[in-house]
Every structure is written in structure tokens, then in C-alpha cells.
Symmetry: C2
Subunit: 435 residues, 2 copies
């Protein structure tokens, strides 16, 4: 038995308790034994620490049993925190007492290679693995950085609804829900509502799950993902580019500072992240097309950038690029036109380096009622469903701008991960809603 | 015209700029005129300030026009911040320059009484009104307080999915979604996933929208609402009650400190909120039933508390009550049984005072595999869909506890609001998905 009255300390805080006797509660992640010693890797959710059990310190039966306890068994250990320079944590624990709280059945995820399907089917267990664990701890830090950044600058969190009567960007990729005797759609973007909120609250953001029923089975697609969408009354394209730049830098810095261990677990080249500094490169769409032509990269003016185009551009620089003023035809109906060239929109995308592509999309919103009425007609959208949105141009319309940033895409980039599905706790994809 | 190079200051920060000339950007909320003076109430989303235009200071045409500008027109004002003890903000602005950025059409929401239906249909405009605005600024503060409280205590944000293959508490009130060639449900609670996350990350919380397809049209029901669900590995019922108590106190204190103006707008009796202090009253269900009997309040042992029962209990005290150990039959299948009495569960609800009723529900979760298998059979749930959840008891099961707190219910209580629909920006109800 263990003395459960000893203060329990999470693994991530152990380094503050060197020389003290603490209680450690967690699960056996791994074990190495050598005669008189068991080296127990114990994970408690905040980190993994090595607990060293010495034969001479423990009852013979207990010592013996620690050599057999299966992986993922729950344990309580009481022991002394000792400095250990070889450990990434800087400490290990010398075991004084140990107790197995529950013995695990043989854990299905072992050191051998497992197929993606096997792991995805066991996502609820896979998230205990070192790399998945590190990725999701970074994701949480990304989300907190986003909120802190916006809260500290006076943005108010105003949630957009999930159930919507109308589609932000066409209905083809919307999930439909039986809503009592009616139909509703799951939101693809909270932006239109964020615009209404900005007219009431000034600088706002919505931050929640969004949904796309895309029948794509690529590494870049989830049907459910999290997006933050700041919207600023009185801000123009230039101001919004400044906010994007500041926010992306802040997110990266927070992860570098508070998730160094996790980035190490992921073998991330942190020098690449340290290079993410202001100012970002700013290029207009026209300048990009010119650049493509100079470099012999095949691209025709007027189309949206595909993944190879984004990668080609992003590879030129060690930091994100802000590409602005895309052709109006490739952007949504609510994008404001460039007063200098009506074929262009006052839009901006932020492309991450290392081939990660678009992590942010945004721009100035159209402010003119008649322009929007024409656009709605042109795009054959149901005006009735957008009346509330049009009201924002009837009652005190002002210049306003905003953007959307995808949490999983930013997390994938920071983690250096190739798979969006590993950057959300319980991914939903074309053929995947379990567990 | 106005000099747009003058530094723009949000209304909520004006008091820090007394004696300075600032730029104010916002909308005309209200006006009072008296010959040589126009008193313009200008709202910018962070607050409302009085801007005083004196005839002698302005071009005659401009002064004249300020007497006609319609409500909700967008304006830019440059002027001096002056102390004004009569204002709740402590300041007013003396207008030096003014410019109407866009003239509003006649605003539909005026000082006269409007029906709820009329206002709900115009929710995107109604949120500009003083009381709605104050309520939603308090809601944002509630959500931030929740996150700060949990983040500061080492809880990791791990989002539960919205699309789920199975129901947490039965399928009758679930929204069904066409998921490609399959069916999915919208989550009613992220708890089961939060349990899986707690086994991987220790102390966690999920915080997102949840959905209930209840055909109730009462003041207490929304089909879409936000819920935070902390879950703690190794914590028992007693610990979870302590966390609920601390968190509720913290939320109330943050609102009292940072939303004093808004509470004043809502005419909230803040003394009632100041009384929200630890320790909360803790009563077992059995003690509550005994109390009902003593007081002649009709109630039979075994049933769940209805709204009148909760109100009757809550009215006895000036602070929330923690009611624990409800009969197992009125709680969900995963609730742990009381080892002292198998008819009871180790559950807890937190009831807010002043008749606001349940704001939190939680407790200890069952840890035994066979018990859960029996429960799933007893409740006729599809075991297959719960295999992943059962895995948590196969691989290192430990004591764990958690709770769910409803954001809109807490906001309604803090605001003293009778209507949940006013405590979320864009409410979704039985017959309401517009705007």
C-alpha cells in the first residue's frame, strides 16, 4: 500500500520538487528491468517520468510484481524527486512505495507498427501514445494562444450558431439536419454572424467547430474542425493583415516557450519555427502570377491557387506569406472589390511555409447593399435567407474586415505533422465517426 | 470631415484618456437636443458614451445635420474626453469634429414595446440594444472565467467531437444527421469522450456547443447551447464538489469585478451575487427528501427533482446548494454507485439560488467493466457503439469524476434574466433557426 496522504504532484511540475517526497498517480507506459532495478516509465497525462524501483528499497513481493505489471496499468507511487540531467524533464523519481491500482488487459497498441486503420479505430487509446499526446497538448496551447491574443486586445467572444438556415459559401458541402419539421444546416463558417456581432460589439470573434461534407479523402480534409473567426468593425484589409501577422507570430512563440518538450518528442525542427517573425512577405495575387511566369511555374491568371501553387510560393520564404487581392471570382460573394480594379477582391490568404499552405483566409467585407443584392442574384442564392445579413448594410454599414484561422491546420504546421487527422482529438472524416 | 489620424479609443477605455483628444468610431444610439446642444449617445460595441456637440464649436451645417442623423447611423467623432461624474463611465466627449460615415435606414427597434417574436426575428439588430448587449458581454466573461479557472489549474482543453455514433443518455432527444451513406448524431454531451481524454491527459475539459432535440418550448430550453465538461482522473465525488464550488465562485467574482456596468444596466441586485461564497450548502438527496417532508413540500423518494422542488430547496439559502447521492435510477448508466447504498449514485447537482435551479450536474463515474456491461444491457443500449468507452475500464481503469456546467444557465442566473434565449447570441429553439 502507499501513503495516499503524501501531496500528489503532476509530472510536468516535478522539477519544482527536487529533494521532496511526492505522490505520483498515473499509468505504466513502459518498463526496463536489470536485476536489482526496474525503470518504470510512468505517464500521468501531463508528461512521462522515469520511476526507479531498487530491490533493496521494497518488499520482495512488491519488487517482483513490478517486473510483471502490464503496460497501462494504473499505479500510485510515493517516492523522492531526484535530479537527472539525462531526462528531458530534468528529474526522475526514486520509488519508496508503489501500488497497482488496476491491472490493465494486454494493451493493443504496442511498439510494433500498426496500420492507420487499426490506430484510428483505437483513437481513444492511441491518444495515450507519446507523439499523439504531444500533438494534442500543442493543439490545446494553440487554442489558448488564440484566445489570449484576442482577449488581451479587446476582442469579445460572441459565438455564432451551429444550426443555420443558409449556407455561407454554397450548399454542396453542407450537412443537412432534420430540424423538427424543418431542415437546418450545420455551419461551415461563423463569419456572417460574426459580422452581425461586430456591428453590435466592435471587435469580436467566434470560435467553435465548423463542418464540411466534402467527399474528399485526403490528408487535408476533416468533416469537423475548429476555426476561430475574428471580425473587426472599422478595420480595412491592411489592418487585418497586421492582426493575422501578429496572431500567427504569437501562437508560434507560445508553443516554442511552453511546448518545447512536446516539439522535441515530435522531432520538430524548431529553428524553422523560430524564424516565424514579423514582417511576413506580402504579395498581391498579380505579383504571385508574375512570379510564377518568371520562374516557369505553369499558372493562368484568374484561377485559385492549388496546393502545388501554394507550396511553390511558400517554399521561397522561411516565414508565412500574405497573398492579397485575389480575383473576385475565386472568393465568396461578400468579399469587397478592390476600388483600383473591380476584377479583384480585398481578400487575403496566409500561406504557411514548408508546404503547409493556407492557414488563414480573410479580407474586407462588402459594405454596399446594392452590390450584395446583385451578388446574391448572380450566385443564385436565396435572398430571403440573407435578409438579416443585408440588414447589416441597411442600418449603419461600416468598413469591416475579418479572417478565419483553422486550428488543426496551424497545429499540423507547428507540429510538422503530415496528417490533419492526428491534430484533433477525435477526427471525423468521410468514413470515420468512431470512436 | 474628421481627422482620422487621431488615435481611436474604445468607449470602455475612455476614462483612461481624460483631457486628451481622441477619435470615437461607432453608431448613434440615441439623441437629445436643446437649442445649442446635441447630446449624442454613441455606442461602439464596448460601451455607450455621451458626445456633446455645441453649436458654437461646429460648422452650422454640420451642427444642424447632427440634429437629424437617424439612430444607428455610423459616425466618426473627434473630441476631448472630459470628466463627467453623472455618467456611469465617468466621462463624456466634447465634440470637435464629426462625420456621418453611413446614414441608417429607420431602425426597426425603437423605444416602444416590441413583441418577443418581432425582436427574435431581428436578433442580429436586437443585440445592439443596451440590455441584450450587457447580457452577452457577461456571457463572454463567464466563458473566459471558466477557461481561465481550468487552465490555471492545469486542466487541458481536449475537444470532444460533435458527430457521434452513439447517444450519451438515450436517443430520443438527439438530432440525426445524414452522414454520407450513414447516420450520425449531434452530441448531447462531450462527457464520454472527456473520460477517454482524462485517461490520456489527466485533468481535462471539453467546451463546445451541445444539442438537444427536445420538443419543449419553455424558457429553460434551447436546442443548441454551450457546456463546459471538466473531467478529472483520480478524483472522487468529494473533490469534484470542491472544484464546482471554487469554479462557480470564481465565475461570479469575475463578473462582479469586470462587468459592474453591465450588471447595473440589467438592474441586477449585486448583493445577491456578492453572497456567493464558499462553502456551499451540501445536502444528500436523502436529506433533501427528509427536509421536504418536514416542510410539508410534497415529494416522493425515488424521483428526480422537478423545477418546483429545486426552487423550494434553493430558496432556503443565499448561495448555491450541492445536492449529492441521487437515486441511481434517475441518473445516467455510467454513474458510480454509492458503496454505502447501492440504490444511490455518487452524483451531484449544483442548484443556483433565486429559483434558477440546476446549473451543474456531475459525479463519479463507474470504473468496473462488468457493472457497465450490465448497465448497458439493462438500458438496452447498443454495446457495440460503446466498446471504445468500455475499453477505458479494460486498460488502466481509475477513479474519475467530472461535471458539466451550462453556460447559458449560469449567464441567466448572473444576469438575473428569465429567458435563456437572451443569454446566447443567436438562440436556436423549437421553431427558431433564423436569423
Amino acid at each position: 500500500m502507499t501513503d495516499s496522504s503524501v501531496a500528489s504532484v503532476p509530472v510536468e511540475k516535478l522539477a519544482d520538487h527536487v529533494g521532496q517526497t511526492v505522490q505520483l498517480r498515473g499509468w505504466l507506459y513502459n518498463r526496463r528491468s536489470s536485476g536489482k532495478l526496474h525503470f518504470l516509465q510512468v505517464r500521468d497525462g501531463t508528461g512521462i517520468v522515469q520511476a526507479v524501483a531498487f530491490k533493496g528499497d521494497l518488499e520482495p513481493e512488491l519488487f517482483e510484481s513490478l517486473g510483471h505489471v502490464p503496460q497501462e496499468s494504473a499505479m500510485r507511487i510515493v517516492g523522492e524527486v531526484r535530479e537527472d540531467k539525462r531526462s528531458p524533464l530534468g528529474v526522475e523519481v526514486g520509488v519508496h512505495q508503489a501500488e497497482v491500482l488496476s491491472e490493465s488487459e494486454p494493451f493493443p497498441i504496442t511498439k510494433k507498427e500498426h496500420s492507420t486503420g487499426f490506430l484510428m479505430e483505437r483513437r481513444h487509446l492511441w491518444i495515450r501514445s507519446r507523439k499523439q499526446h504531444a500533438t494534442l497538448r500543442i493543439r490545446a496551447r494553440v487554442m489558448k494562444a488564440i484566445r489570449d491574443f484576442l482577449d488581451d486586445r479587446g476582442f469579445l467572444a460572441v459565438d455564432s450558431p451551429i444550426f443555420t438556415p443558409n449556407a455561407c459559401e454554397g450548399t454542396t458541402s453542407l450537412f443537412e439536419v432534420d430540424y423538427f419539421d424543418d431542415k437546418a444546416y450545420l455551419t461551415q463558417s461563423g463569419q456572417l454572424y460574426a459580422e452581425a456581432s461586430a456591428m453590435a460589439f466592435g471587435n469580436v470573434y467566434c470560435f467553435g467547430p465548423t463542418f464540411r461534407a466534402e467527399k474528399s479523402k485526403t490528408r487535408r480534409h476533416l468533416t469537423e474542425f475548429w476555426m476561430v473567426e475574428p471580425e473587426m468593425a472599422f478595420a480595412d484589409l491592411n489592418e487585418v493583415m497586421g492582426v493575422i501577422e501578429d496572431m500567427v507570430c504569437y501562437i508560434v512563440q507560445c508553443c516554442l516557450k511552453d511546448r518545447a518538450l512536446e516539439l522535441q518528442v515530435l522531432e520538430r525542427d524548431v529553428e524553422k519555427l523560430q524564424a516565424i517573425q514579423k514582417p511576413f512577405v506580402r504579395m498581391s495575387y498579380n505579383e504571385c502570377v508574375e512570379f510564377f511566369q518568371q520562374k516557369g511555374h505553369p499558372f493562368e491568371w484568374g484561377g485559385d491557387f492549388g496546393s502545388p501553387d501554394e507550396t511553390f510560393l511558400a517554399e521561397q520564404h522561411d516565414r508565412p506569406i500574405l497573398v492579397h487581392r485575389y480575383p473576385a471570382d475565386v472568393k465568396a460573394f461578400y468579399a469587397k472589390r478592390d476600388p483600383e480594379d473591380d476584377k479583384l477582391s480585398l481578400s487575403v490568404d496566409c500561406l504557411a511555409p514548408e508546404g503547409y499552405g493556407e492557414i488563414v483566409g480573410g479580407g474586407e467585407r462588402a459594405t454596399d447593399l446594392q452590390f450584395l443584392l446583385d451578388q446574391i442574384e448572380h450566385h443564385k442564392l436565396p435572398q430571403e435567407a440573407f435578409e438579416w445579413y443585408l440588414d447589416l448594410r441597411r442600418y449603419g454599414t461600416v468598413t469591416h474586415s475579418g479572417f478565419g484561422l483553422g486550428v488543426e491546420r496551424v497545429t499540423a504546421w507547428i507540429c510538422g505533422s503530415q496528417h490533419l487527422r492526428e491534430c484533433i482529438p477525435y477526427p471525423r472524416m468521410l468514413y470515420r465517426i468512431y470512436p
